[in-house]
Amino acid sequence: MLSINNLQASVEGKEILKGINLIVNSGEIHAIMGPNGSGKSTLASVLAGRSEYEVTGGEVVFEGKDLLEMSPEERSHEGVFLAFQYPVEIPGVSTANFLKTALNEVRKHRGEDQLDAMDFLKLMKEKAKLMDIELSFLQRSLNEGFSGGEKKRNEIFQMAMLNPKLSILDETDSGLDIDALKIVSNGVNSLRSKDNATIVITHYQRLLDYIIPDFVHVLYKGRIVKSGGKELALELESRGYDWVKDEAGE
């Protein structure tokens, strides 16, 4: 589904990603871990098409297409979804109407019929239940005045509505209490299928008790320095990152 080959990227002239290689297949969950400043969020941003990051080398192929050539909205239409580390507050735009606009744009691209307000509401009710979100919440301005946990839940709710092929969760667990973490994880798990894939970017192993990854990668100084199964996450939890740094030749 996704093939990242020797991806290099910089921001404001500073090189952050120094040659990332990663293959993600349908049905897989990949966890990307690493210390602060290792380039985890940069990778997520580059995949979603944030303009302040400049790709200086390598390629990203998604479902046979050059992902890096696409605008952020085209990536979304093709089935890429980024759950933001810091979801943006947008006063004056209700979550419901924003999502209806977004979903219909995606459906248009897929050659599906537009949903009217009634059908949309039905779908929204169903997905809101999944994420334990009150409907009144969706009438409010997008993320405005939401708590950290509410914002993250809203991200996964949007993911459920848009039904992407590849979801990238950028530190979705950071700052969540255990109840919110369970709700978010349940949401992600219930959306899992053999046709989609997820990249979970996290700083903490705790999330991986709830979302069980098939592969764990350690990102350090802009490169993936170690890959393994879910047991790698446990090892990182008990031993910290220092031994990885040592192995990387620091």
Binding site: V88, L99, Q139
Partner: protein
């Protein structure tokens, strides 16, 4: 400078001519007042950009337009029809080029008195209330309006009347055959414990320029509530200067929402004097500037007594070569302790050639007050734009959505739901954010 003289001389000549028609009957209180105003106008003349209050609003180009004081103009019902607010049942009072058009007006509510300025000025008591609030002597356009007043609505809301239906004052400029200049004067008296809504809207028929020099004088009695909605949508060669003078007695509550859409040059002077304790004034404004429009909002919240509150929010979306001006003055007089006064001006500039000039002016002479002001200007928030795009919304649509949301913040202060919805729709169309199929949860 030559042109300045020209319009000024023409207006003074018009005044002298009108005076001759009185056949020497010039000693009435009204004529004495008008003569005084004429002398003041001769002294003051039109402001140039060297005048601090007119620094960014250059009126000089208007003075070379061959404006003519109009004769009453007759419009057909069909011509007026499109300007009614169909979805709102209201008391409608229509003026064409400043003249009352009874054939297009419709007063339904029996509990209020609606007359016209020309009628009221026929009796001495009316004259004593004319220019009572504005004081008229200091500001050129108000002086000129006092000189040459065309006509206008004269509304009296008696004590304790809670008016169900709004009053809609519809001002139409007929600029089909020539460029008219006229001087509407509206007066609104709200009795103690009364409550009312007034909608003002202005439109142009025809392609010529028009110049509406409007003055409104409004008084709120004790505990009165008045909400005014001002919709400015003239053609793109129209000039207007709108001076509103509000006087508020104890416990009164005044709000105004001014929506500036069409017009080449719009200058709004909105002044409220918080003359009685615990009174509250709220000014909101939304400006959508395109082309070479200039839209200038000058506000003054004059806190004269303790425990009063004023709150201002003006939002501008400026595109092309348009210019916005916001000058918000707050005066807190020595007695006005425990004043709360807030002011905010936010602008989104959509082009490199659009300009906003914003200036807060706080003059505080009391020591126990809370005053704040803030101004922001810039482009649309890139992070918000990226967020929407990452969800599949194309860049153009995402921009429109964000601009519409920015504007909605002001529209939400309109308490007549159907008016808010109508305006919201027309603003959505202007910002290309059209969606008739809104999701309403529950």
């Amino acid at each position: 400078m030559q042109e300045t003289l020209e319009l000024k001389q023409r207006l003074l000549a018009e005044f002298s001519y009108r005076e001759q028609l009185l056949n020497g009957n010039t000693e009435t209180p009204l004529e004495i007042l008008r003569q005084d105003a004429m002398r003041r106008f001769a002294e003051l003349g039109f402001p140039t950009v060297r005048h601090e209050e007119w620094k960014y609003a250059n009126i000089m180009p208007a003075l070379s337009i061959p404006f003519i004081s109009p004769k009453p103009s007759i419009l057909t019902a069909d011509e007026v029809k499109e300007f009614y607010l169909d979805e709102i049942k209201a008391n409608v009072i229509v003026f064409v080029n400043g003249y009352y058009a009874p054939e297009h007006s419709n007063i339904i509510s029996e509990e209020i008195k609606i007359s016209t300025t020309s009628q009221v000025l026929k009796n001495t008591e009316g004259v004593s209330q004319f220019s009572e609030i504005s004081g008229y002597k200091n500001e050129t356009f108000t002086v000129l309006n006092t000189d040459l007043v065309t006509d206008g609505a004269w509304v009296t809301i008696p004590d304790k009347v809670i008016l169900d239906l709004p009053i809609h004052i519809l001002m139409i400029t007929d600029a089909r055959e020539y460029a008219p200049i006229f001087h509407p004067r509206h007066t609104v008296h709200c009795g103690a414990n009364s409550q009312a809504h007034i909608i003002y809207s202005s439109y142009t028929i025809g392609e010529n320029s028009g110049f509406a020099n409007t003055v409104s004088e409004v008084s709120l009695g004790q505990n009165a509530v008045l909400r005014q909605y001002i919709i400015q949508n003239d053609n793109d060669s129209a000039y207007s200067v709108n001076s509103s003078y509000i006087n508020q007695e104890r416990d009164s509550n005044y709000s105004a929402v001014t929506i500036s859409l069409g017009g080449k040059f719009i200058r709004n002077n909105h002044t409220s004097r918080l003359a009685g304790e615990n009174s509250e004034a709220n000014f909101y404004g939304l400006v959508l500037g395109t082309g070479k429009q200039l839209i200038d909002n000058h506000t003054l919240a004059d806190h004269a007594t303790p425990h009063c509150q004023s709150n201002e929010l003006y939002k501008y979306i400026l595109d092309d070569r348009s210019t916005g001006v916001f000058n918000g003055k707050i005066i807190v007089r020595p007695d006005a302790q425990k004043t709360n006064a807030y002011q905010s001006n936010k602008t989104i500039l959509l082009s490199d050639t659009a300009t906003i000039n914003t200036k807060p002016q706080l003059e505080i002479f009391a020591d126990d007050v809370k005053c704040s002001h803030g101004a922001t200007s810039g482009q649309l928030d890139e992070e918000s734009l990226f967020y929407l795009r990452s969800r599949g919304i194309p860049a153009d649509k995402a921009r429109a959505l964000l601009l519409h949301a920015f504007a909605t913040d002001v529209l939400n202060h309109i308490t007549i739901g159907s008016l808010r919805d109508t305006l919201d729709k027309s603003i959505a169309i202007r910002l290309h954010d059209e969606d008739d199929d809104i999701v309403i949860v529950e």
